[in-house]
């Protein structure tokens, strides 16, 4: 098929799925946080509050897009565009699975594979700082300015340990292309321990993974590093003066950045789409089993309803889950869906970690945040990189 049409189709599908995921990530976050705090979370809009993201989108789109009179208009309007565009661009190089054949067309489950994929992602993440910095500055508001300053200082500081933590596994994988990176992690030690970077013992890579995750949390301005939008000090930080879709753009950019950090973690450290244990031991049946299990629970509660409305909503969801489980068993779809399942499963686990930590940890103080990166994280990551380099040089 024509390369151009194929790319257009892939872009369309990917964009649709990604945008929906971003919207529902917020629903998941609210639900998980609510349950951590013994609350219910959104329940009113649709069954289990499932239509809440849709309602939020409609609300945000129809709100009045107010522009305060004291802002620098050009940069005020430019900032959310920069933030969201750069955040969404990064999915274009992420590989979701291996080479597959769909309707006789052989293609990669990836939009494009750059030979400099990981550097491209790093470049996008550094440029993303401008969105936040400009938003804070152009708002002409002391809280916004402080938020913007904090955000840029934090991003610059944590970029260093993050880049160093990424460099260590790159020495082992010996490539900058994201697809080749995952392919280099194929195979198993002793037939069952996956050859993912994070399980490398010589040189030890768990340290790089932990440093990467900590700085990744700081890069996305999430708790415990969400100083740029600390409500009790700065109202809402850099987006204090933003309303309607302009505010939503920042929100979307934050969630997109979270997923990008998770994508990089999975591709670099957790073996991309490779399963946790080999297919000979039945890793292909994990996905259908999970979905069948979910379907069984939903059907059980639908038939023995605790609340009257459960009788209405649970069985249809159960049937959908069972059908999705059956899809994983169809031989033609298996080579496509199984890698995607493992990839999204790992990404989902890291995103869950994000939410879990948000529900658990308090916020750092600003001096603690800066001390932590410059006095602990940065030296540790330098030593880690040097040790990794030494071991790689000795072993080759």
């Amino acid at each position: 098929m024509n390369f151009f049409i194929l790319t257009l189709i892939k872009t369309g599908i990917l964009l649709f799925i990604f945008m929906t995921t971003l919207a529902y990530l917020q629903w998941i976050e609210r639900k998980v946080l609510a349950h951590i705090q013994l609350r219910m979370g959104p329940t009113r809009v649709g069954p289990f509050g499932l239509l809440q993201p849709l309602a939020d989108v409609i609300k945000l789109v129809t709100k009045e897009g107010m522009i305060p009179s004291h802002v620098n208009k050009v940069f005020y309007l430019l900032a959310p565009v920069i933030a969201v565009t750069l955040a969404l661009t990064s999915i274009s190089v992420i590989p979701f699975g291996p080479q597959v054949e769909i309707f006789g067309v052989t293609t990669y489950l990836q939009l494009t594979d750059l030979s400099m994929g990981i550097l491209f992602l790093l470049a996008l993440s550094t440029l993303g700082t401008y969105g936040i910095a400009l938003a804070g500055w152009s708002s002409n508001n002391k809280y916004a300015l402080l938020g913007g300053l904090r955000a840029s200082a934090q991003l610059i500081s944590y970029e260093l340990p993050m880049a160093l933590a990424i460099a260590a596994p790159l020495l082992l994988l010996n490539t900058l292309s994201l697809r080749e990176m995952v392919e280099a992690q194929q195979g198993y030690y002793f037939g069952f321990i996956p050859k993912w970077t994070v399980f490398q013992v010589l040189p030890l890579q768990v340290v790089s993974f932990i440093i990467y995750m900590i700085s990744g949390f700081a890069e996305t301005n999430r708790i415990p590093f969400d100083l740029p939008e600390a409500e009790n000090e700065l109202v809402a930080g850099f987006h204090t003066e933003y309303a309607s879709m302009k505010f939503a753009s920042f929100f979307m950019a934050e969630y997109a950045n979270m997923t990008t950090i998770s994508f990089i973690a999975v591709l670099l450290f957790l073996g991309g789409w490779h399963p946790l244990w080999p297919a000979e031991y039945g890793s292909d049946y994990v996905a259908p089993l999970i979905f069948f299990f979910g379907a069984a629970i939903l059907l059980f509660h639908g038939l023995n309803p605790a609340r009257p409305k459960d009788k209405l909503f649970m069985p249809p969801f159960g049937i959908v889950f069972a059908l999705v489980g059956v899809l994983f068993l169809i031989p033609a779809l298996k080579p496509i869906l199984i890698p995607i399942f493992w990839f999204t499963g790992k990404v989902g686990a890291i995103l869950f970690l994000y939410i879990w930590i948000r529900g658990t940890l308090p916020r750092f103080r600003y001096d603690q945040l800066m001390n932590f990166t410059w006095k602990y994280l940065f030296p540790v990551s330098v030593v880690n990189l040097m040790l990794t380099g030494l071991v790689v040089a000795l072993m080759s």
């Binding site: 400099m116 550094t126 440029l127 300053l149 610059i156």
Partner: protein
């Protein structure tokens, strides 16, 4: 396609560079400079220098310019005031500048007449591996000298910035 991209991004680079000079507010100038850096990165990419393009993006457009913007924000520098209007500066200056640029480019073109034409996409030695190998074999001495120089500069900046200890 390559030629069109080259023309588009050269035009953007030149426009951003002009805007950098014309703008009165430091932030606007800084953001224009980011535009120049980013379009230069794309020009490098068109010429086959993949690694240089990404380094340009990360180091210049990213790190260095973020520090510029950060400093301008921190100092809260306002817009510069326009000086006294001198109409003859505009009417004389622009033709003179154009003429000077024309003469310089004519002279440069005369000097390097024998050089082969650039073929976009003709150069393929710009991958990270090639650059690294060149840096650590053929150019290892200049590379190390430059890194020592940068180290000295950092130490000097720290000494200058440090408060006096009695």
């Amino acid at each position: 396609m390559d030629v069109i991209l080259f023309l588009v991004f050269s035009a953007i680079a030149v426009a951003c560079a002009l805007n950098l000079v014309v703008q009165r507010h430091p932030i606007s100038s800084a953001i224009s400079l980011v535009g120049v850096m980013a379009s230069l990165a794309i020009l490098y990419l068109l010429l086959g220098g993949e690694f240089i393009a990404m380094a340009q993006m990360i180091v210049y457009a990213g790190a260095i310019m973020v520090l510029f913007v950060f400093t301008i924000m921190l100092l809260n520098a306002g817009a510069e005031k326009r000086g006294v209007k001198r109409p003859w500066a505009v009417y004389l200056g622009i033709p003179l500048l154009t003429g000077l640029l024309g003469i310089i480019s004519f002279l440069v073109q005369g000097q390097v007449q024998g050089s082969p034409p650039v073929i976009l996409g003709g150069f393929t030695g710009g991958a990270a591996g090639d650059v690294g190998r060149a840096l650590f074999t053929r150019y290892v001495l200049p590379f190390e000298v430059v890194s020592v120089l940068v180290l000295i500069a950092i130490l000097g900046a720290m000494v200058l910035a440090r408060k006096e200890i009695e």
